[in-house]
Amino acid sequence: MPASTSLSSKHHTLIQALLSRGPLKESEFRSIFHKVTGKSPDHQVFNDYISDINDELSYVQLELRKCLNQYDGKAYYGVVNTVSDEHSKLGTKYSVPQIALYKGILEAIVQDTAGEGSISNIDALNIRLENQVLSGVDSQSQDNSTEIPSALKNFSMSQKDKTLEEFVHDQWLCSISDGRIGLGVRSFLDLRSWFHDNEVPTCQVCNEAAVKVKRVCPGCGTQWRLVAKREAAEEQEADDQDGPSENTSQPDPSARKRLRTSKGVDRNTQESDSTITSSTLSGSRRLTRSSARRAAAA
């Protein structure tokens, strides 16, 4: 019987630190590593620890992952969920309206044609949430006149404001100085494959999803260029991905120019996802920065 690497209490300390304290800055995490193991957090030893941990965590579809906070350029480590199932869908303390708000903000940020990677607080509070719930619900019928849940109707401005604070505190969103809101570390950690599915442009050099794209790629510092040629390539990729899906929209040229709604069935069940986003995002609309730009120009 193949023996898996047994994790020591040192490994456990690292895992529990991340689970208990949330995503940690790389410097902090490496410092804990050094204090716990007595070893210098240089490349090989540190990487071996992470790799051994991930071998074990894969048993329960979790992963110890590093990501980049695109606003301060710092790397963070966290334990993330890699598969969306009924347990992770329930494993959130947020309510349906709160998750709808998060989804709305996420889409607005990613759609932002200026590539700022953030939206104003006011805009965040004014996002229309009904669309979020409708597109995320696993509807049996094609009838789109589903009732807007009363929880959504009763979601007041002050409650939304409090929710924003909570998201910032929990690191799903972050507060950027001049009254703007951006994605938090947890979002960067968890949503890697959502970014991909929604064709958020990536840096050609380091593959980081580019949420904040002013001038240079936050991942590797490469000069960022969003050129027409890449947009065309993205559209091609989008069409290919659309093939086996059960979208009601037709894969014809005019459809590319509209924001597509994916109704009902999840496109695939093995999407990577987080506890907050899970199935609420898997049925969401496909957005591309280029289609948004086209819609704005129309």
Binding site: H12, Q16, H87
Partner: protein
């Protein structure tokens, strides 16, 4: 290792199937702990992961939970502590429909507890943002312990007020202790109407916790050599 294989063969499921079930039970425990803010998870919530997949083997749920316990320890360093649900208090007593033959096993619930040494836990794992909650928990349990394991609501708040806590601001924190099964409430009728009592529930009655409450209280009492004013 061969005994484990023998054990598995009696259930007629493959290793992969077993791993899948165990993984699911662990994920259920982890996510529910987050969602429920540390409230114990009922055993039936875990066993139904096995039974709802039409696995009919009688001892399979127990086997899977055992494996999950072992994995939680080896992967995360968490102990899966089993708690026996205490008798329901009179305030919450309901007739349990059709569950008479299961009442023994189903009264079990689970919490996860770190197996790291206390100093390591405090240094690297403990979340400073929630340590005041731990402090509050200890204070409440200590007071009730000194009162003999049961105390009236009025008396409890009398003592908490001396520490600067108040019924208006801190009622929710006390309620959380009830939800987390450290305490349970008991309404007792008397000549002047109802009196609300707080007493230890299974989490506080758990041997390890109970012992530590006693130890800490003893420590404090022994340190305090000077005479105190009577109330």
């Amino acid at each position: 290792m061969s005994s484990a294989r023998d054990e598995l063969s009696q259930f007629d499921i493959s290793n992969e199937e077993k791993d899948k079930l165990v993984g699911e039970v662990i994920r259920c425990i982890l996510f529910k702990t987050t969602q429920n803010n540390g409230c114990p998870i009922k055993r039936e919530e875990l066993t139904q992961i096995v039974t709802k997949k039409s696995y009919r083997q009688k001892n399979l749920p127990a086997f899977v939970i055992n494996e999950a316990k072992s994995k939680l320890s080896s992967i995360f360093g968490y102990e899966l502590r089993e708690l026996q649900r205490s008798r329901p208090s009179s305030a919450t007593q309901k007739t349990r429909v059709g569950s008479s033959q299961q009442s023994g096993a189903d009264a079990k619930s689970y919490v996860i507890i770190s197996q790291l040494p206390a100093d390591v836990y405090k240094k690297y794992v403990e979340n400073d943002e929630t340590s005041h909650v731990t402090g509050f928990t200890f204070v409440v349990l200590g007071i009730i312990h000194l009162a003999g394991g049961k105390i009236t609501e009025d008396n409890l708040w009398h003592h908490l007020r001396r520490l600067g806590l108040g019924e208006n601001e801190d009622k929710l924190a006390l309620e959380a202790l009830v939800q987390q099964r450290y305490l349970q409430k008991d309404k007792v009728s008397g000549p002047e109407g109802y009196t609300l009592f707080y007493e230890f529930a299974e989490r506080a009655l758990d041997e390890a916790v109970n012992r530590r409450i006693k130890e800490y209280v003893m420590e404090i009492v022994q340190k305090d050599a000077s005479p105190r004013d009577a109330d």
